[in-house]
């Protein structure tokens, strides 16, 4: 009897050990600014995907099913006055203390760029899911491939967003005759880059760039730029930034009845589903680029609204801002690469990720093999599509790209009257 008991105990212990080994989680270290909208949204997207993957059995690593586990640490890199070095310490901490197998990187471009060095040192696969929009991120990888090959960006970037904006603005010229712009950007790398690129590109297309104003993070009065834009006769206000204070800019624009269409090629607060409510409708007519499809309702792929509804069910809110859809896609892309590579070895995974080709929330996901930038497209069947929406009657109506558009651009009445806007 005693022997039988010991035998059963041994068998049970062995089973438990085997299960324990199988259940050893794959650690996804998230070192991002958790208190900004994009960071919080990316964490929610990641959590949702990880829960779905784990519920379906986990990741098949060479025949063994292993779950994902998220380890989140706050870099605070978007706070004014927090030096980049602080964010890097957090990236290092999530690797050394939490034993991260993969890294989801910092939000601010300056920190994301600096993190490339840390990632290279520890040879960890690094996916940029939110922030880090500066084109310098993928050009740096392309220029120093051997050193930075472990980093991939699974979202759009300022350069391509500028191309999308150009396309939409050219449409405004051909359809409505608009060609006078005033640029207002937050004084941070990605926004400065975005503003400069759009300004230079539009000049070549015959647009008049009437002014370029930078505002430091934390600014609370934008009247100077708005009145300058009005005096100069701007028809489009090109805005870029992620600070919540940009809602003041939109409120002031509406209150002052500036006869120019606000176009936020990245406008943090206006991405939030509650923006209409908190501005008491002053968000009306504001156009916003949310970088990836899925961050606003559209039918880009069969997965887009599936994700949209799952996110709403899990978090009680629509996908917020930029970072939700890309955060959701990151674990699925990693799962796909790990299962094809059959290992967590970073060098093998780099090759596997370079061969990624799957349909996601925002279209076909592929990476450029040299720069590791997601391949963008205007067609979700060819690549990752962006999304530009306009606030109309309390809803976020997708107006670009044409393949996924749900409505047309509208103009504020005081602007239509001032410029006598008519469709050609």
């Amino acid at each position: 009897m005693k022997k039988l008991f010991l035998l059963i105990l041994t068998v049970l212990t062995t089973i438990a050990n085997v299960q324990g080994l199988e259940a050893q989680p794959i650690i996804m270290g998230v070192a991002t600014d958790t208190k900004i909208l994009d960071g919080a949204a990316t964490i929610r997207g990641l959590t949702l995907a990880v829960e779905e993957i784990n519920a379906a059995g986990g990741v098949n690593v060479a025949g063994k099913k292993r779950p994902f586990k998220l380890e989140v640490m706050d870099t605070r890199d978007c706070d004014a006055g927090v030096p980049v070095s602080e964010a890097l310490l957090v990236v290092e901490k999530v690797i050394l203390e939490k034993g991260a197998d993969f890294i989801i990187g910092p939000s601010r471009s300056e920190a994301a760029l600096a993190a490339l060095g840390v990632i290279s040192k520890y040879k960890k696969i690094y996916l940029s899911t939110c922030g880090g929009l500066s084109p310098k991120f993928h050009t740096t990888i392309a220029e120093n491939y051997d050193k930075y090959k472990y980093a991939f960006r699974i979202t759009g970037e300022s350069g391509y967003m500028a191309k999308e904006a150009m396309d939409l603005l050219t449409h405004l010229t051909s359809q409505y005759g608009l060609n006078r712009m005033f640029i207002i950007v937050q004084d941070v790398a990605f926004a400065r880059a975005g503003g400069e690129i759009i300004g230079e590109s539009l000049k070549k297309k015959g647009w008049e760039i009437l002014g370029y104003q930078r505002y430091p993070t934390g600014s609370t009065d934008f009247s100077a730029a708005l009145l300058k834009a009005k005096d100069a006769g701007a028809q489009v206000l090109f805005i870029m930034g992620d600070m919540p204070e940009l809602s003041i800019l939109i409120n002031q624009w509406y209150d002052m009845k500036i006869p120019a269409l606000p176009f936020g090629n990245y406008l943090g607060p206006a991405m939030e589903p509650k923006f209409w409510e908190v501005t008491k409708g002053r968000a009306a007519y504001t156009i916003v680029n949310v970088v990836n499809a899925g961050n606003a309702p559209s039918n880009a792929t069969p997965l887009t609204m599936k994700f949209y509804r799952a996110y709403q069910k899990r978090w009680g809110t629509e996908p917020e801002g930029y970072g939700a859809a890309s955060g959701y896609m990151a674990p699925y892309v990693l799962k796909d690469a790990i299962e094809r590579a059959g290992t967590l070895d970073p060098d093998s995974l780099v090759s596997a990720l370079e061969k990624t080709d799957l349909v996601g929330v925002y279209g076909r996901v592929r990476f450029d093999p040299k720069s590791h930038q997601i391949v963008p497209s205007l067609d979700p069947k060819e690549g990752a599509v962006g999304t530009i929406f306009q606030w109309q009657d309390g809803k976020r109506v997708v107006v670009y790209p044409p393949k996924i558009a749900m409505g047309e651009i509208k103009f504020p009445p005081w602007m239509s009257d001032y410029w006598k806007i008519k469709k050609k």
Partner: protein
């Protein structure tokens, strides 16, 4: 460039700075305690009002009154619980109040205070054209409230016994003690009143944007810059310095570049410390320096 834009927005900006700095100046002039919780209380006032309106469903006016009362109470507690133990040790006073301020702000951050969601309703939604320059009604309300506060404070400190005792302490603490004025009681009152003033500032200014944690640090920096330039302890100097910095910021924003606006206040502090260390109206300190 329309000169009226600069004049009107310079005036508005200056009075917003007066609102931000007056509480700090009042507390310092009476108690000589630099209340570094100032910025945190500004944000906390906005957050509490938001909670009262959106979570408890209270009337906006009642929520404002409750928030001001709570912040006044916190100012009282800060002095009675913490500052009183280190009174007279300037470095310790700074450390204690700064620590409490950081604790409040980081607690709010931990609670999830982020994004543009935390917004207070504007008092009245309308745009008024003043000499052809459009100004939103909340800014006009802020100007009126700032002017009323300055007037009320003058009346309080010149026409009431309590106010006169505060002035007495501010002018000469030893003489005031000899006349039977309780220094600790006056300092507690000054910190509470200063906290109430910053709560009013928060509730008036925050509806233009949103409640966010970094604003706490910005408001503290602006309040200190204005008080140093005006002369620490001088209320008149505070108001004058607010106008100098406010107009300088507006001129820089309109004629040079808006991204240099943040530099103006700090540059003003550096210039004042080089050329007139006691500030524009810091007479007491000036006398000490001469001696």
């Amino acid at each position: 460039m329309n000169i009226m834009n600069i004049l009107i927005y310079g005036f508005v900006n200056s009075l917003l700075l007066v609102l931000m700095a007056l509480g700090f100046a009042l507390a310092y002039s009476v108690s000589r305690v630099p209340n570094f919780t100032h910025g945190a209380l500004y944000v906390l006032a906005g957050y509490l009002t938001w909670i009262f309106v959106n979570r408890l469903g209270l009337n906006y006016g009642l929520s404002i009154i409750l928030s001001i009362a709570v912040i006044t109470g916190i100012g009282w507690l800060v002095y009675q619980v913490a500052v009183i133990r280190v009174r007279g040790m300037p470095v310790s006073e700074i450390i204690v109040t700064f620590a409490i301020g950081i604790a409040i702000l980081e607690f709010l951050r931990w609670l999830g205070l982020r994004g543009a969601t935390y917004v207070l309703p504007v008092f009245y939604m309308k745009t008024i054209n003043i000499f052809g320059v459009p100004v939103d009604s909340q800014r006009i309300a802020a100007v009126i409230i700032a002017a009323l506060i300055v007037l009320a404070l003058w009346l309080f400190t010149h026409c009431t016994k309590m106010g006169l005792s505060l002035r007495g302490i501010a002018q000469n603490e030893r003489a005031a003690l000899m006349l039977g004025i309780d220094s600790d009681r006056a300092a507690t009152l000054a910190l509470s009143l200063g906290s109430a003033l910053v709560a009013v500032a928060g509730i008036t200014i925050i509806p233009m944007g949103n409640v966010n944690v970094p604003a706490g640090y910005d408001v503290l920096v602006f309040a200190i810059a204005v008080c140093i330039c005006g002369g620490l302890g001088s209320w008149t100097g505070t108001i004058l310095a607010a106008f100098v910095i406010g107009f300088a910021q507006t001129i820089v924003a309109y004629l040079i570049a808006p991204h240099l606006v943040m530099v103006v206040a700090l540059a003003a502090v550096i210039l004042i410390l080089i050329f007139k260390p006691s500030g524009l109206f810091g007479r007491q300190k000036e006398l000490e320096e001469r001696v």
